[in-house]
Amino acid sequence: MQQEVILAMLAKEPSHGYQLRARLRQALGPLGDAMNDGQVYVTLTRLEKAGLVASEQAEAPDRPDRKVYVLTAAGHQKVADWLAEVAWPRPDLTEFHLKLIAAASAGLADPLAIVDAQRRELLRRLRDAQRAALAEPGGSAAGLLLEGIVLRLQADLHWLEACERNWTGRRNRS
């Protein structure tokens, strides 16, 4: 689990690991199924070693999970830096683009067949994401994330259409 995400969740209040896990699950909805529950604890241990969180034993002897985690000053600073940072995930279009060019120039594969295969995969993903999005109640946090995934997949599929036009054109000219 990305350390900043866990840190930022702790900024709300000191928490047990299982509370963080539940909050993550709620924010992610069906997407959270991909998350391994142990990852939260692994991350917390790392954060503690790095001095970004501290832990104390809570007064709850009936629970196995008694540690409460608290942000340190350094942890607070790290969260502030993370919130101020502007980042956007890079879709890896370059590799696909170069793959088409390499396939065509070496005569190794038909670029249009590569485009078709990619489209098949993206449409399956779109279907999954769309199903999940339609199943979310209006206003759910996870629904908003799913909508973003759907829109990105649509953008990628638009670009594949452009690839298809381009490579069809090249084939017809040659």
């Binding site: 689990m1 990305q2 350390q3 900043e4 995400v5 992610l28 069906p30 997407l31 959270g32 199924d33 991909a34 998350m35 391994n36 990852q39 790392r46 995930p89 249009l112 078709d116 489209r119 098949r120 995969e121 993206l122 449409l123 399956r124 993903r125 779109l126 279907r127 999954d128 994401a129 769309q130 999940a132 339609l134 994330l145 799913l146 973003g148 995934i149 759907v150 997949l153 649509q154 599929l157 638009h158 259409e161 298809e164 036009r165 069809t168």
Partner: protein, 254 residues
């Protein structure tokens, strides 16, 4: 071929449509073989001019093929006369068009019941069925509105209700969301998913990947021919987390 068991509802074999002659010959549909099963949703995608709309018009008997065979519910239909074809369109096929094609001077419910009245159904049952369908598409409270008082998405939902009024064997949709914004597209999308779940056979020609993603099967067309086929049902990636970059985020060690 009989209309029982697993026979496809719609079948095309070597279907062709040509325009012009000699140097100017255009093969709009160039030897298409297609089976559509009962209850299946099929999407056809492809660049503009690839022949997908022409194909849909051939399947619906709106246009006549230059060659090949066409079967609907076990009946060969490519040789039917004009009158028989008109009857077939009215009784067994529902159409949904990009531009809705509603009658501006009729209310929503009047638009929906019109094909049933033209097919000879009496006024009362036709109205009852039209009202039911408007309810199904979520527009019961808009029944007495003129199309001009409805949003784009609502108009297209009226058009879908109209396509269903004769209980067609198959609904053919030509760019059903082509004129709609994303919110209205979502309305139509939900409706198509609903029809699909209810077992309606659907053939949808579309540019919109969201609409195509609702299909069981997707066919890509180029230059009048099928070039790729994708089965979308089953074979789910089962990895929504991967889609959101969640897996990467979990594995990343900052």
């Amino acid at each position: 071929m009989s209309d029982t068991g697993n026979a496809p509802l719609l079948r095309a074999a070597g279907l062709r449509k040509e325009y012009g002659k000699g140097e100017g010959l255009v093969r709009a549909v160039d030897g298409v073989d297609l089976d559509v099963a009962r209850g299946e949703t099929l999407a056809v995608m492809g660049p503009s001019g690839c022949g997908k709309s022409t194909l849909l018009h051939l399947l619906g008997g709106l246009d006549r093929p230059s060659g090949g065979e066409l079967w609907l519910a076990g009946r060969r239909i490519d040789h039917l006369g004009e009158r028989a074809l008109a009857g077939l369109r009215r009784d067994t096929i529902g159409f949904v068009f990009q531009a809705f094609h509603l009658m501006d001077e009729l209310t929503a419910v009047e638009n929906v019941e019109l094909p049933a009245l033209l097919a000879g159904r009496s006024a009362r049952p036709a109205r009852r069925r039209a009202a039911e369908l408007l309810d199904q598409v979520g527009l019961a409270d808009r029944a007495r509105f003129l199309p001009s008082a409805l949003s784009g998405g609502q108009r297209q939902r009226v058009a879908v209700a109209r396509a269903l009024v004769s209980d067609p064997q198959v609904v053919l949709a030509d760019e059903p969301t082509g004129n709609l914004d994303s919110q209205a597209t979502l309305e139509v999308l939900r409706l198509l998913e609903h029809l699909h779940a209810a077992g309606q056979t659907l053939v949808i020609v579309t540019h919109d990947s969201r609409i195509a993603a609702t299909a069981d099967r997707l066919i890509s067309m180029r230059d009048g021919a099928f070039v790729d086929e994708t089965r979308l049902t089953g074979g789910s990636t089962g990895n929504l987390g991967g889609l959101a970059g969640l897996t990467e985020m979990c594995e990343r060690e900052a």
